[in-house]
């Protein structure tokens, strides 16, 4: 079966004062139907640019290459009308900062109902459906709350309102970019639980972008690890986390601060995350990699299959979980 979305060799070039910056450099992964894919990496690794490319929200001057196939249809080269219909309907997005996405001067219920009204739904039906969506997103007393403005909601409630808004168009894919990063831990856990249950109940596919491996570990079936605009490794979440096939993934796993173990600081990775502006030659990870050797400095590893469903961009993938 062909995947819902297939990202193949995606390249995003952005103009910058120092010349063209390749912020996404040949990224490939699939999102199967009804599956959550986690996109993980440190800041500046290109996660947001990848997700935004999928939905067609890139800064002016951005140049794309590669392919984005939606149910087999090449949407990167589709006409703007088609791309607009795709965005907001079949693909919806929720962001880290819901305030930036919600209109401060409009009642939340009205904003959530907007897409329904535009599709020609009757007023009373719109209201009924909005109440349903609020309820689905876990907003208490929905019929009263839909009269509120965004500033009358707490951070967690705003994120729920964003989720209701995203679900209004009945999408097949939900892009969630750091949806819980700004929230308190207890609220974060509730929102993640909500996203998981919605994903499961509605049979949605989800691309969950996060810098926090713990978040991705709890929600994603599959994980794509990015480093300096490229894929370092991808595969089923539990397999990737328990037996990483890339030294960068292994380092991320080891440096997760856990409540039950005190090992995150035992062997910190040296150096700072590479930026696309100063991407080291060969394997971009080589200056920080404990397994690096001569070949890594000159030859850029390709992403290759290293086991069933497991892909790695390390020349020495087989050594990672052995050493």
């Amino acid at each position: 079966m062909s995947p819902l979305l297939s990202v193949a060799g995606l390249v995003v070039d952005l103009p910058s004062p120092a010349g063209v910056l390749r912020v996404v450099d040949g990224v490939s992964f699939d999102i199967p139907e009804a599956t959550t894919v986690g996109l993980i990496g440190e800041s500046g690794s290109g996660k947001t640019m990848t997700a935004n490319a999928v939905i067609g929200l890139l800064p002016g001057g951005a140049v794309l290459d590669g392919a984005l196939r939606w149910r087999g249809e090449d949407v990167l080269r589709a006409d703007p009308g088609r791309r607009r219909r795709l965005r907001g309907r079949e693909i919806a997005m929720i962001f880290q900062d819901p305030l930036a996405a919600l209109n401060p001067t409009q009642r939340i219920g009205r904003q959530v109902g907007e897409i329904l009204r535009r599709s020609g739904m009757r007023r009373d039906e719109v209201r009924r459906r909005v109440v349903e969506l609020f309820d689905r997103a876990g907003i208490p007393e929905p019929s009263r709350r839909l009269r509120n403005y965004p500033h009358e909601f707490s951070g967690g409630m705003r994120q729920r309102a964003m989720i209701a808004l995203a679900l209004a168009g009945n999408p097949a894919l939900l892009l969630a970019d750091e949806p819980t990063t700004a929230l308190d831990v207890t609220v974060q856990a509730r929102i993640l639980r909500l996203l998981r249950s919605i994903q499961r109940d509605e049979g949605l596919a989800m691309l969950l972008v996060s810098h926090d491996l713990r978040v991705v570990a709890h929600v994603a079936h599959q994980v794509v690890v990015m480093y300096a605009g490229r894929v370092a490794e991808r595969g089923p979440t539990s397999a990737v986390l328990s037996r990483p096939a890339h030294p960068y993934t292994r380092a991320l796993v080891q440096s997760v601060p856990a409540v039950r173990t005190r090992t995150a600081i035992a062997h910190p990775l040296p150096g700072a995350p590479a930026s696309p502006a100063r991407r080291p030659a060969g394997c971009a990870f080589h200056p920080r990699c404990p397994l690096a050797r001569e070949r890594c400095r000159s030859e850029q590893p390709v992403v290759r299959q290293v086991a069933d469903g497991r892909w790695s961009a390390c020349h020495f993938a087989g050594e990672v979980s052995r050493s």
Binding site: V256, R260, L269
Partner: protein, 256 residues
Amino acid sequence: MIEVRELTVKFKRFVAVDDVSLSVAADETVGLVGESGSGKTTVARAIVGLQRPDSGTITLDGVRLGPVARRPKARQRAIQMVFQDPRSSLNPLMSVASIINEAWRTHPDSAPTGDRTMAVHRLLEDVGLDPSVARHRADELSGGQCQRVSIARALAVKPRLLVCDEAVSALDVSVQAQILRLLVDLRRRHRLSMLFISHDLGVVHQIADRIAVMRGGVLVEEGPATEVLGSPRHDYTRSLLDAALELNTHHGEVGK
């Protein structure tokens, strides 16, 4: 060493910190956790003297501390703070060397007697930076480097207590682990006491001997880190623990 007794801080009618008592012994690291708005930063600001308490006392070695402006210099410098945002807590246009020299100008009794350039280099090496960083301006540094400079600036005046308010929260995990490791090493090398504030229980667990939990301005639980995390007594601590994500729980279990 430092003792906070029955501290209360109000903003107009709002009680941000309510009757909090907390102490940090010599060589000890105390973690202060709690959700946003629970009063952690306000406690920290009162300790360093940036926030006037409405009631309660703060003592250093048994001697009461007033507001920062009225603290004797030696007592001011005994307590240094490292903030969350490494960029906005350093003047971006100043060189790293001048940032550190400024700390010595403020507290001349902690300034080195010999060659200042060499002293700056030693300090930078102490926090894991290359001495060549001294010439750079703060805005040329990465987030992790900035945080190391903030720590070097605090150490420059030879403090006894380091108050770290979300000092690693804005950093990427790999850099976060480096800075936590640095703090643990420095604490041993310099026999520092630390009050380490974070909303992330996992982060606090890496570094704290004891943990204090705040909620709505009130300190609800306090004890050895292993006990507070292993067998919490207060429901609120338990709910924080339930919400804390771990890697080893399988896909499908987010809290309860």
